[in-house]
Point group: C2
Chain length 264, copies 2
């Protein structure tokens, strides 16, 4: 899997790219995500009311997510864009649970990677993989197109709004960028995939609907851009900088067929 | 203005109806709403962070909203549906302010009118008039079609989630109704208007965008169905049960032309 010139141009101009996984792969990942959220372990963060918010580092303790984290449909395009091998900087499964999923404030991911982890440049890529249908009504990722060109914006450390500390942008900055680029709600079917730049401004509203909105996020960092001064736990900002060796394109599908729902 | 047979059938089957105001009328109302939110008076309720949440009873102290509250485009269809004169049970301007507007939990309005105000039957109609563009991303009203036939559902008095106490439905009830009817996001241009049944289940998520989402809500109650045992302040649940005499269809437009933006 390599990017076409049109795909590469879309990423440069807009800051993100769409792609797709199949229904068997998605069904396996969704079942595994539900099982992981039921576990009580430090990698699973909860909302203030106890519902799961995000589970970190599942690629290190779950076979299906290990295969997803080394999938060529994600690794190859990012290698292509950065023109070098990549490693996993962060891996998380965001729940945005039905009825209770809370807001993610407006932010650039690179703001946190730089300030908290000492990442030299915004040469890490976010990839979102939808495990549920992401609709306008269940708290979709909201992207501000073209904001990836705004550089590293001034940010404040918000430790109050949700259970998860985040470097967030002020309203004037967001208003200015939205006046220029608008807002795109990244909706799509289960299996949908979305790559976006580490400086792309994004956020998401709460989910009050009965529809859960599970999204896996991989952050693939160029190996030469490895983090220098990490302050967060290793399961949030990984210290293993060895290049990811992609699995076969059908590895996740074979795992799904090996592990049908009834057998788990 | 009277309902066509098709419109009457849509209301019976789906629980709501669309209509429209013009740009001059909307511009006047929006300017007046902003001015009202800037006032500190008991009718103006604020979010926990101080942003305006809702302003009650503006039809009693603002000329533009007085004309809106007696507008034949709303009064006549509701008289037609209830087959009798109507009075104003509640009048509010909900802000859902940019960046800060909070959730309205899932509820039926009649649940509150019955429990808090002693309204005998669900023979009062909600009418929403959009003063801003209501988009999928800025906290639109979410309606559960066909839920108006579910009767008066069990509800709990939620005094914690937001600054405004509300009789809210539990998640199992909402899930069951949504499995049957789905969810419709009531989006539309400024001036859009939407009538919905007092038992129609609805809610709305928070607004994290720079786009405000101001909606005026009129609650028109059949005069014979007037409230019997009010417990809330008079500016929230009115005690004047005299029938509304509609103004002329162009009264609000004439007021808008009399009060252009620069002259206010």
């Amino acid at each position: 899997m390599h990017l076409t010139p049109e795909q590469a141009a879309q990423f440069r101009e807009q800051g993100w790219l769409p792609e797709l996984f199949g229904p068997e792969e998605v069904a396996l990942l969704k079942r595994q995500a539900v099982a992981i959220y039921a576990q009580h372990r430090p990698e699973v963060w909860r909302e203030k009311n106890g519902a799961p918010r995000t589970a970190f580092a599942a690629h290190l303790y779950n076979e299906a997510f290990r295969l997803l984290g080394a999938h060529p449909r994600m690794i190859r395009p990012v290698e292509q864009i950065f023109a070098e091998p990549v490693y996993m900087h962060q891996f998380k499964i965001n729940a945005k649970a039905a009825f209770t999923g809370e807001v993610w404030q407006w932010h650039q991911d690179y703001g946190t990677w730089k300030r908290d982890d000492g990442m030299p440049e915004p040469r890490a890529m976010n990839i979102a993989v939808f495990l549920d249908e992401v609709m306008p009504i269940n708290g979709p990722l909201l992207l501000v197109p073209k904001s990836h060109e705004a550089g590293d914006l001034k940010a404040s450390h918000d430790v109050q709004t949700t259970s998860y500390p985040l470097w967030t942008l002020d309203n004037d900055t967001v208003s200015r960028l939205v006046a220029d680029g608008g807002i795109v709600a990244a909706t799509g079917k289960p299996g949908g995939m979305l790559m976006f730049h580490g400086n792309l401004v994004h956020g998401s509203a709460g989910n009050i609907t009965p529809y859960p909105r599970t999204i896996v996020y991989l952050t693939l960092n160029a190996v030469s851009n490895h983090i220098r001064t990490p302050t967060r736990p290793e399961f949030i900002a990984h210290r293993d900088f060895s290049p990811i060796m992609p699995v076969a394109d059908d590895a996740l599908l074979r795992e799904a067929r090996r592990m049908p729902a009834a057998a788990e």
